[in-house]
């Protein structure tokens, strides 16, 4: 880094100040609100809401859906990033646009399309019914909707890194006769390690908090298809203001834990290298 002049120091602190102010106002205060509301009636009420059997069911379901979302999107993200950055083909722009599309589709619409595809109006419905397969208003639907809204998160993180890295190293390795898996493991993966970690964290965080799409598709069956955000919605609608915030606080804590894990892994990893 070049030497700091007096002017650049002032600029530095102004920018830091603006950033901190923004983060405090926009991100920290809402979280503080959630936590204070959750504890408004004391620890006992908080603990009661958190240890409720339906809350526990909701936590498990949220973890399940998040796990599936991360798993499926990892598989997709790695293959998609590989295909898009290591080869040239027609329609690449269209493909990347389509991959990004789920992020910008309104959650309301995201839920609606699955209802239209698998619901009673759909031509698929009799087939599913005959096979006794339930997709919407059951766990598979929730997983599908969660995967949908987090679809591009991992590929999006990988693509720019792979793009800037270019294809020379892989080509060289391939020409020297290295196997595909070896190329990926030895050459590509070290480059994308951190981007991959970012992607998983983003994906997990977003999957846990997804509300709109899952809300349309879940059916809100208590103890069966309620994720944590839906449980919050229900508690809130049932005039249980404090328990609703207590359950939200679980989500906040889960998110914070994930983010801390990421920081630790990243810190250690970067120190080693």
């Amino acid at each position: 880094m070049h030497e700091e002049t007096k002017g650049s120091k002032i600029l530095k602190w102004i920018l830091i100040g603006v950033s901190l102010l923004f983060v405090v106002l926009m991100l920290v205060l809402p979280l503080v609100t959630v936590i204070t509301e959750a504890l408004k009636s004391g620890w006992q009420v908080f603990w009661q809401a958190v240890s409720d059997e339906y809350t526990v069911d909701a936590i498990l379901l949220t973890l399940e859906a998040t796990g599936f979302a991360v798993l499926i999107n990892t598989v997709f993200g790695v293959f998609a990033a590989w295909a898009i950055t290591k080869f040239r083909f027609k329609g690449k722009k269209l493909l990347t646009t389509l991959i990004d599309l789920p992020v910008t589709v309104s959650p309301v619409i995201a839920g609606l399309i699955f209802v239209l595809t698998f619901g009673r109006q759909s031509p698929l419905y009799p087939v599913l019914q005959a096979l006794d397969i339930k997709i919407i208003f059951a766990v598979p639907g929730i997983i599908l909707a969660t995967v949908f809204v987090t679809f591009p998160f991992i590929s999006r993180e990988l693509i720019p890194v792979l793009e800037s890295q270019g294809t020379d190293e892989e080509e060289a390795a391939a020409l020297m006769g290295a196997k595909g898996t070896t190329i990926f493991r030895k050459i590509t993966f070290p480059h994308i390690k951190w981007a991959f970690l970012y992607g998983v964290v983003l994906c997990a965080a977003r999957a846990m908090g997804e509300f709109g799409a899952v809300s349309v598709i879940s059916g809100h069956l208590r103890g069966k298809t309620n994720t944590l955000p839906l449980h919050v919605e229900i508690l809130f609608n049932e005039f249980k203001y404090v328990p609703a915030f207590a359950v939200s606080a679980i989500l906040v804590i889960m998110a914070v834990v994930i983010l801390i894990i990421r920081s630790v892994v990243e810190y250690k990893g970067k120190k080693e290298s």
């Binding site: 880094m1 070049h2 920018l15 950033s19 983060v23 926009m26 991100l27 920290v28 205060l29 809402p30 979280l31 609100t33 509301e37 499926i72 598989v75 997709f76 293959f79 998609a80 590989w82 295909a83 290591k86 269209l94 493909l95 646009t97 991959i99 990004d100 599309l101 789920p102 992020v103 910008t104 589709v105 309104s106 959650p107 309301v108 619409i109 609606l112 399309i113 239209l116 109006q121 949908f148 993180e157 270019g166 080509e171 391939a174 595909g180 983003l202 977003r206 908090g209 709109g212 955000p229 919050v232 919605e233 809130f236 939200s248 989500l251 906040v252 994930i258 983010l259 920081s263 810190y267």
Partner: protein
């Protein structure tokens, strides 16, 4: 172009990776989205046109579009500043600040909406301050914008940050040594490098904001023609069991977000070409 294609295929697994990509894309994204098109196609053109151009729906497009635009513009500026601060400076609490960025994703949008509303209503901490100045935030378009800024901020920061990290400070230093002012360095050297990523972040945030529902309904006030957003109109059509109108309006929004993304990708591709042109 064609010649290059052959040399590029030295790397293995083109077929496999394309196959996996396309099939997963189809099952999870394309087929469900197609159902929207199929459902809307059952209506006559006239009905579709009527459903998507009713004055109330038109007003909601305006509200959604303007608030999303304002919020993404704010996010683009703040996102660059945040990314810059996180990459270039050392200061206390930096790691915590860095970790906070994804929290808007994890907080269910409804909870975010309720929390933001209670903060920005006349009785809240922030709202109370501004109401003394005669500005009300909650239940106005400003409130919608605040919620959307909250929702969209991670997109820009996380798009710009990796690019800034990769940016070699050598050029800046060289320019600095040669006496270029910091403002000039930023606009001439750094800004062109990060512009594609800013645009990507802006586009993603904009698209996401257009469709946001959960947090906005609580803070918006939802008055028709004033603070009613398009996703809410879709919801109310669904409540009236008017699937046809709902899917038609949904399709309009889908096309809008597709166009935004496509434009972003075009700009990005052009920029990448310029940037990698020398290689």
């Amino acid at each position: 172009m064609k010649k290059r294609k052959k040399t590029k295929r030295v790397i293995p697994y083109f077929g496999l990776s394309m196959g996996v990509t396309i099939s997963m894309l189809s099952v999870i994204v394309l087929i469900p989205l197609a159902s929207l098109v199929i459902y809307t196609a059952q209506m006559s053109w006239q009905d579709i046109w009527e459903a998507i151009t009713r004055s109330r729906v038109m007003a909601s497009y305006r509200v959604s579009f303007l608030t999303a635009l304002a919020a993404s513009a704010i996010n683009a500026v703040m996102g660059v500043i945040l990314a810059w601060v996180l990459v270039r400076y050392k200061f206390p609490f930096k790691r915590i600040l860095d970790g906070m960025i994804e929290l808007p994703f994890a907080l269910p949008t409804a909870v975010a909406g309720i929390a933001l509303t209670s903060l920005t209503a006349d009785t809240g901490i922030i709202g109370g301050f501004f109401s003394k100045l005669g500005i009300s935030i909650a239940y106005t378009p400003i409130g919608i914008t605040v919620a959307l800024v909250f929702i969209g901020i991670p997109f820009v920061v996380r798009a710009v940050q990796p690019v800034l990290e990769k940016l070699d400070p050598v050029y800046e230093e060289a320019a600095g040594v040669m006496g270029a002012s910091r403002v000039r360095i930023f606009w001439k050297i750094i800004f062109p490098e990060i512009l594609p990523s800013v645009l990507t972040g802006f586009g993603l945030a904009f698209g996401r904001c257009l469709g946001e529902y959960g947090s906005v309904v609580f803070i918006a006030g939802n008055k028709p023609f004033e603070t009613e957003i398009t996703p809410l109109v879709i919801m109310s059509e669904l409540q009236e069991y008017d699937y046809a109108s709902a899917t038609a309006i949904a399709l309009v929004m889908l096309v809008a977000s597709f166009l935004v993304l496509f434009l972003v990708n075009l700009v990005q591709a052009r920029n990448t070409k310029i940037l990698t042109g020398g290689r």
